[in-house]
Symmetry: D2
Subunit: 335 residues, 4 copies
């Protein structure tokens, strides 16, 4: 079989990462088109990855019969519509997280995917990080016994621009969504009930636009296992993303990834690197791996491991967390 022919929709930062990975680091794939509402962005990206076509008209890409699949990396509010349109055009779909913030839109998009029978993958980067994967495999293999406690720490190095915060859907939908995904995946179980505390400790501007910047969310699973997630929009020492699964037979921990393995000893003790700056650096390999998985699934005609249900469930957790805050009580999670 020939290469899987991809069109990348959205040539912003994460779109360019996907385009370069697809073009250069995913055997069996090629990027044939790049679309972006800013034509110059599409062109620059297409040139970089040697794609034949650059356009600001997404419908052109969807109408192109030589395109096998699309990588949706445009702004979140366009995801659900583009998923549906791509599915109707018979393209397999890789879509950045989240599918949408609105459950009805998510369900509508998923319905189109199912109707069209195309393959669908949502881009939860941690699922393809070598360390997260290894931890998950150990848990799945029973190496920590029955999972009993989950701890997730997830702190950004700095808040996004306030204009982004306004449209982000809020901390839970924008940032904790990754942790909610990890919480499900890592424990192999569904969260039944949760309780959220929040704070505005990082930047008053975030409060002014109605969002929070600090949170602790407690989880209770169907199995009876418990969990806890803590978030902050600003960790001055870098992007701090750790997870720990504790069980009846042990514990597995995923630590941060530093830019170097250098340690310096001096009068004040030892110094070592903080975590890699942010998600682009920390999950560099994960972004490669997730596209490799998608392309592999497309070329074999099998369903990706992170599909529509996995795109939908963490949104329900984010909604429950928001309601827990508003109602100041623990909440059962809808299904």
């Amino acid at each position: 079989m020939g290469n899987v022919r991809l069109a990348v929709i959205g040539a912003g930062r994460i779109g360019r990462v996907h385009a370069e990975n697809a073009s250069f680091r995913v055997p069996g794939a090629e990027v044939v088109a790049v679309a972006d509402v800013m034509r110059s962005a599409a062109e620059a990206c297409a040139a970089r990855v040697r794609a034949q076509k650059a356009t600001d008209r997404i419908e052109e890409v969807l109408a192109d019969h030589s395109v096998d699949a699309v990588v949706i990396a445009s702004s979140t509010d366009t995801h659900a519509r583009l998923i549906a349109e791509a599915a109707r055009s018979g393209k397999h779909v890789f879509c950045e997280k989240p599918i949408d913030l609105d459950l009805e839109k998510i369900d509508a998009a998923i319905a189109e995917v199912k109707r069209a029978g195309v393959l669908f993958q949502v881009g939860f980067n941690r699922r393809f990080d070598p360390s997260f994967q290894k931890a998950r495999e150990l848990v799945q293999a029973g190496k920590v016994g029955e999972p009993q406690l989950l701890r997730i720490t997830s702190r950004d190095p700095k808040p996004p621009p306030i204009d982004y915060v306004k449209v982000s859907g809020g901390l839970f939908a924008d940032m904790t969504i990754h942790d909610f995904d990890v919480a499900r995946w890592m424990m192999g179980d569904e969260v039944e009930e949760l309780f959220a505390f929040s704070g505005n400790l990082v930047d008053p501007a975030i409060r002014e636009v109605g969002d929070i910047d600090t949170a602790v969310v407690s989880l209770r699973y169907g199995s009876g296992a418990l969990g806890s997630i803590d978030n902050s929009r600003r960790a001055v020492y870098g992007y701090d993303v750790r997870v720990e699964v504790f069980g009846s037979d042990g514990v597995v921990q995923v630590g941060n990834l530093p830019p170097s393995t250098v340690t310096v000893g001096g009068v004040g003790g030892y110094r070592s690197d903080g975590p890699l700056f942010w998600f682009i650096e920390r999950f560099e390999q994960a972004y490669v791996n997730e596209l490799r998985h998608f392309v592999d699934c497309v070329s074999k005609g099998i369903a990706p491991s992170v599909g529509a249900a996995d795109g939908r469930a963490p949104v329900l957790l984010a909604r429950a967390a928001s309601r827990s805050l508003a109602e100041r009580r623990p909440l059962k999670v809808e299904r």
Copy 2:
């Protein structure tokens, strides 16, 4: 001034630790008497530490005018009464945690201490551990900026005997009490509200006697900072006690203490020691340091740094946690 003359009340495991430390590792102190309801235990301990007197009659010790201070290490249900009696006898008091599980008894004991004008210290070991102390000093000195998040992991290597569980006052009063103390001390702030999830995942016998063995407690401080504590009665890899304070300028973490610094590399990767077995080993130095502090305070006539208020406050947190469980909602903490 001569040595501070101590009587140790209770010659069980922790009593013997205190007696040996007081006798051998605390300059300026000597153990002149050991009392225990089991006379043979008192005698064995007195012989070991070269104390002149061993008795099963505690009143004898309290009546002894040559005794400056008592170290109360008997069972928890005797603490409040012994504190009061010792205070009335004019003895300074070092008492193992907790003062009591009942707030009225605590307050009565504290009232006697105040009336008598004797010095009082409660034995929260973490307060005198070199690592916990260093972390606290860094936080106090502003090295992490404004504290925003607290994470405590505190897991025992194995559950206590079920007969002990029955009279322990429950996980929150017996085990989490240390974490509640650390939560106040490390953040330099009071917990205003908390929410608890619990589980019975370790041993059904614990459920049968009405207790829990796994918990996640979320905290909200007066300052708006948040926190999370997780507990388990059984970590097969050893006594896992970690704390992390995250703030506007950084993070400070206290890790576990291993029995050796040995690493072994083999076909399956690197292996290193798990944590020291349990509190006697982990807090060996802390037990020495806390008595040094007490003896130093007694000899100088100044108040110990961990006094009556610090003995009382974590009990209120434990009570709030229990009620949160019962009422399935977040609860404000009484004062």
Copy 3:
């Protein structure tokens, strides 16, 4: 300026790494030709990196005026000749280490490079590893003060095939050569005298072909600083490559790079990953970075930081080590 047009000579394992990196991960470069004595290898590699030409006739590549530079990744015994021929053809040259094992051949090749005025870089991977680079920068910036001691540990996960050992030039020229390069570069000083102990502890077959498999080499620098290198052909726990520079104001250490940041705690303590398997994995980023540097230098017309003198000097150290073994005494290093 347009892309730097590269021809890759040698399509074995390391040649393919260079070809893929040059093609996909080095902005401003493209691979226009791949040459290998095995035509099928050249063709497979060219197809993978979308190079226009694949050939088993190296002279064809050298005669091609559209080729700006060559990447020499063929067997060591061909390096010196190919360097000279490429230089005479006016191509800039990136050559895998070592230039040759014979000093006269090295000098002849270097002379041709100088005569032709082409740019030349030798492929010492550690020079472009982020951790090694950071350590070197710290040493250069005086962060450890005056360097006084160097420690290098460099152990392969397993011996190469015995047929390779036969033609490898011996452990010092084949393996320690990297450490000799690091020893010069990291300390910013020349080794004046060295002494070698060796052993045959790994595989008797290595002794039978006249080579050694274990070594400890002591170094004395011009400044009076000292150093020590230890090598083994087989570390069962993986490719163990560490370096430490100790100085008047501190110490800097480069550790191994694990495949994941996962730690597992169980009854026997904690387990974590061993080092990445071997040089292809451990120095993946270094291989990218060294070509980026070469292409950057070529496009700007400036000399690469690792040139002819740096290719020659470690060979002199390897020769001195061999003679030290033979004569069982410390030896001054020729210049």
Copy 4:
């Protein structure tokens, strides 16, 4: 049996450590006398450990029939004579390292010990450190297979006073002697040949009194295994004592012991404690353990594990190292 009754000879720093340990932390032992040429030092130490007798006349202690054993912690030049005298008086002997710097004196002292049939232990602290012991046990148990390489790093935090340096016997006899002991013990094999490089990089005053302050010593064992030791008289980040045994089946490493397990993350990365300041702190537990072993052996009448031969052998290694320096060549070690 009653307590083992000890006399401590020498009430300087290390003597006081032994006296306190013997008195307070070694069950079954008591210190009945302290002797020191400075009477006031003897008295202060005796008071601290509640010993009955303090004297500046060592013969008084040796004549005391109630004394079972002596702990010799006086200056090195008195060791051999005191060993002999104590042995002739029928006292068991624990002696600080080294026995002497002169082989004849060592042999004479050992001969007296043998003639008298008393038990003898030399105080090599590392032999009783929990981490060193664990490493040794793993090596002995074959966990790293056949030992092939040894690496020892041993660096003091600062040079001793120059007056001490003058009488110390030189770096090899004073400081490296510990590493030579570890080199034998850890590998379970004898060093057959060694080669030393040295430097004067720390303090010119050390050179002026004829000593060195920096060294790298290469070792070759009877088995063919190799080793390397590096020393410096000044590591500004603290007392750096590490050892690594590499073998056919793996590697075991002993790391430094920090004063706390605290890590701090900030803008510049993570910071953690340097090593404990010096030997008194680093080997605190080892000093306790070595006396426990001695007292246990005395009370059972069995030979300590670190006897006369172990006191003698490292001196031969130190002598060989000195000669290697002087003759600038590798040297076979005498037996």
